[in-house]
Symmetry: C2
């Protein structure tokens, strides 16, 4: 049995499943789980990552970017977890994107460098936070899409005696930004006299291309969209304005955008975990996109069996994201049909047969969409096989500000 301060010892098969919850709770509180906890010890619903699959996904993307000569700055809004950002940087990435300033504050406080905040920092208070963060993390980049905001950032940086690195965000159909081409060029030119901001480059995120079903169709869509961003960069350089960075790309277009001259950096997120959404868009080689492995699952328990053909698991609207029109998929028994059964429950049925499930059985589900699912949990349990090897705190969960 686990004792406070005792060294980690691999539990033998006979010991497994014998611990009390009070003992498990102590191990969870200390976090020294390796060799002590197994999957079956975890309270459900729980968010699990298959470490072999996750590490393989990260290595593959890092190798890909290196081979194509692009920088890689995966998006931290996917995992919201400083430990994961640090793992990816150690494997070879240039840094981490974050969606918002509050996410960046958490990442920086945990020692993550190379940050790019992909949403504009708007309002006096958030600008104050950006300046404070830049003093601690001088390489951080922020996005801007209008001159008023750039002037506000400049004024605040000047008062604080610092400089801010600003990327101009291009609106290419999704999220935020300024119209590419002449409007964007005029903004960059208007920023030139501002002495306390430094023009870092361009950002163009085309989320609508990432999810186009069918590789060829997706390639065409992404190239059409990203051409506007590449052209903006060309116009700038024509005017003698150096533009070292053009960051964009996603898990859906990582092997498309890397072949577009002028895109210097990829900022994909979902590849590290993969989800049902990305599986269905189709890959370069077939109808199912499987360049990366499904590494993230939600682990549930059957808590009720109202009849022979229905089982209720303890994961519902609060355990899975619901923004996509398809349900979680059982990893263990893909023939099962999952339907949301309210905030706290999922309803499992199997076509035409009695359900070979009992109250107390446990099932893992591949998630519909990774980013909003991760944002529901406080920790990710990292598993090697069925041994819990690590717990990663989702320290920036809820940091949408």
């Amino acid at each position: 049995m686990a004792v406070l301060g005792a060294p980690a010892v691999l539990r033998s098969a006979t010991e497994r499943g014998k611990m009390s919850y009070a003992e498990i709770e102590k191990i969870l509180a200390r976090g020294d789980v390796k060799g002590k906890l197994f999957k079956e010890d975890l309270p459900t619903p729980a968010l699990l990552v298959d470490l072999d699959a996750f590490e393989g996904n990260v290595s593959k993307m890092v190798r890909h970017a290196k081979e194509k000569g692009r920088s890689l700055r995966p998006h931290g809004k996917t995992h919201k977890c400083p430990e994961i950002a640090k793992h990816i940087i150690k494997t070879g990435a240039a840094g981490s994107c974050t969606a918002k300033i509050s996410e960046a504050e958490v990442f920086a406080a945990h020692g993550v460098g190379g940050l790019l905040v992909t949403t504009a920092v708007v309002g006096r208070h958030k600008i104050e936070r950006a300046v404070r963060l830049a003093r601690k993390s001088p390489d951080i980049m922020f996005c801007v899409d209008n001159i008023k905001n750039a002037q506000d950032l400049n004024d605040a940086a000047k008062s604080a005696g610092t400089r801010l690195n600003l990327a101009v965000d291009l609106f290419v159909g999704m999220r935020t930004g300024i119209t590419p081409g002449e409007p964007a060029v005029r903004l960059v030119e208007a920023m030139q006299p501002l002495s306390s901001v430094r023009f870092a480059g361009l950002q163009a995120y085309a989320g609508q291309a990432s999810h186009v079903v069918g590789f060829e169709e997706r390639r065409k869509r992404s190239r059409d969209i990203m051409a506007q961003a590449v052209e903006t960069r060309r116009l700038l350089e024509q005017k003698g304005i150096e533009c070292k960075l053009l960051t964009g790309g996603s898990t859906g277009t990582y092997n498309i955008d890397c072949d577009v001259d002028g895109i210097t950096e990829l900022q994909p997120g979902s590849f590290m975990f993969m989800d049902v959404d990305y599986n269905r868009i189709g890959g370069q080689d077939g109808a199912v996109y499987q360049d990366f492995r499904n590494a993230l699952t939600v682990y549930t328990t059957v808590v009720s069996k109202p009849d022979d053909r229905t089982a209720i698991v303890d994961g519902g609207l609060k355990a899975f994201s619901t923004d996509k029109p398809f349900p979680p998929v059982s990893k263990d028994k893909p023939e099962l049909k999952y339907a949301f059964g309210g905030d706290e429950h999922g309803k499992l049925t199997a076509e035409g047969s009695a359900l070979a499930l009992n109250v107390g059985d446990r099932l893992e589900f591949i998630i519909p969409h990774c980013d909003p699912t991760v944002n529901l949990y406080d920790r990710i349990y990292g598993l090697r096989g069925d041994a819990v090897e690590t717990i990663w705190l989702i320290a920036a969960r809820g940091m949408s500000q």
Copy 2:
């Protein structure tokens, strides 16, 4: 300006909007917000509750239950907030439901009594937690829907020298439970010899009736469904088994179930906050259900304006629940159309006209569905007018275990 340890002083109009974020951060950390903070000081996206509307909703439901001679145990899965549970109990409720054991642990630790855990407690570890909790909170009730689980609970309670109060959960089409009528009666009979559990009554939650559009159709549906639960109670009492409790009902059926003889307790949740989902089901008096006021909103900021007809706010999939097929509704400008624009953004358009919005403008949105939206936030800001009067920690956020 706020100083550590300084008394709360109502800020004058001239002082408003002058604080630095560093000062606001200190006030937020201490929590002594009253008289110091206003809506415009809050970082967005933020979850706001209009205290006048909220308190009015709670008082109305308490009066209703009292007039109808029913017990009231509102569902804590809606708010996940011990301070709210205590406010409701102080106003006149019998206690609080919780969906899961982990939610009940948090509520109990904050001094909330009269708990009913509405999902069965399955597995050795969760049963250990139930017994531990019952020793601290002897009036807590758990739900059960099969004899094996009842025996396991009994054995654990016996070993610990305590007794557990068990309600039998009936499956009336939603969530969990055993078939009403004879199967349920046989379960209650089989529980009689178990010396360390006490039969507390019946639970029947008919969520599928709650959301039926149209009051008359909803009344018919709920009465048909709840008749099975009432009949089960009658069968038990016919056999001489006392059944003091039949708990069920929802915000959609609070004024229907209270007129059904045999239903002793209501466990609605959404009434305290209200959401777009419940507005649309229609009330007793009209096409819009407005027995309770919309008290809960998400406060956002316009962070980008890609063109004259499009504004992007900083609240997206991670700021609002997405399980319902309708978007958030602007409280200030209901003519605006909100469309989800990814994890972090919402896209606002107005039919046929330029959008009278600028970057930096702030807008409140009525939420599509309250429970899963609350579960995205760590705190609710309680507003009296536009003054922040209190901050309630959503201490059981993420407690889906």
